[in-house]
Symmetry: D2
Subunit: 119 residues, 4 copies
């Protein structure tokens, strides 16, 4: 599923994962927001633990469902943020590089957007 398109060699942040050979660990397009994403995901983790407490404590069902809606929204916000970062860094550098990597990067991000919508 992961396309191999020309990467921003200067920063290395957009080298897509290689499924074979020695994986190269590089920074990603979301590098600058990493701490913020981690904070938000830790909050989501706490909310999912909170859901379990609600079920254990026999909370009124509509109140549990309302909380699930809030968590789903928070996760989708993270997803949209990641897609935006990805466009700003990896897709942008693929588009600026010579060759057809930009096309592939856009095909891949289109598939990613479909995942967010669950289409």
């Amino acid at each position: 599923m992961t396309a191999a398109f020309p990467a921003d060699v200067a920063t290395g942040e957009c080298v897509p994962p290689v499924r074979t050979g020695t994986p190269v660990r590089t920074a990603r397009g979301y590098a600058a927001g990493k701490a913020d994403y981690l904070t938000r995901l830790r909050k989501v983790e706490g909310q999912v633990r909170g859901l379990q407490k609600m079920i254990e404590n026999d909370t009124w069902c509509p109140d549990v469902v309302t909380q699930i809606g809030a968590i789903t929204g928070a996760l989708q916000e993270v997803a949209v943020g990641l897609v935006s970062d990805h466009l700003r860094h990896c897709v942008a550098s693929a588009l600026r590089a010579p060759g057809t990597g930009g096309e592939q990067a856009i095909d891949e991000v289109t598939g990613t957007i479909r995942q967010v919508i669950r289409l």
Copy 2:
């Protein structure tokens, strides 16, 4: 937001929460599936922790977003299950009881469905 509609007094499982006075803890419509919901939510919690690991390890953005799509889907499955249980127990007993509690129960569950869709 929580409607006060006639409850299944026999089982007590559908007594809505009282915001004032002494709260009565009762079983809920999802009582029979409680263990299953908790198992699924613990799995979701693990997946959210996995997301944090992915971000920490600089995972390729589209792969992170795909995983968010999977988690969102799992949470929505839980929400639909809870709504279905709620219809089967609390809304059903409110509809069978005399009075206008059934109407209120349906108004409330309609609002709950809107939360699931995030409408």
Copy 3:
């Protein structure tokens, strides 16, 4: 897909469709709101025609997509309204009738809610 559950024989509004034999045309749970739903759907039809005009006139892509979001939302509002009417009439009468029709009605409406979420 359509369950055959006990109907509100008095009003006939909740007799589910029969796939074989002579179909009986009856009023439905949304009968009281029929004119309103038709008005809203005619507006949606006009909006979809407007989308075609936007494409023909080479409208800026984000503006077209924003309009699609509005139409999708309007359709989901209609869907939630229909589900609510269905609960209030057909599911309610199935639940009040003796037998297991209520269970079947709730199974069916759960499937319907999944369609609205596109789960």
Copy 4:
């Protein structure tokens, strides 16, 4: 809401709309797929008219809702296609042009993705 970012002057297809002054009508990023989008939207229009017929004919509510789910899905497919075309043409040319237009284009398309998700 519409950003004014550097356009692909060569083709003119990505000149964003100007709210004041003489509007310039140009081809858009979805130009190549225009006929296909119009065909799909005409089909959606027919489906919305079909929905009205279903309501007029007192169709079983879950069947109407299932059809709404199908239409919503078709509209979201169009939206994702338009976003993909927009990335491929207008965002790409803005990113390749000198200046900060690429940033603005990505901010705008991020907002557009949020509209598709109805976030």
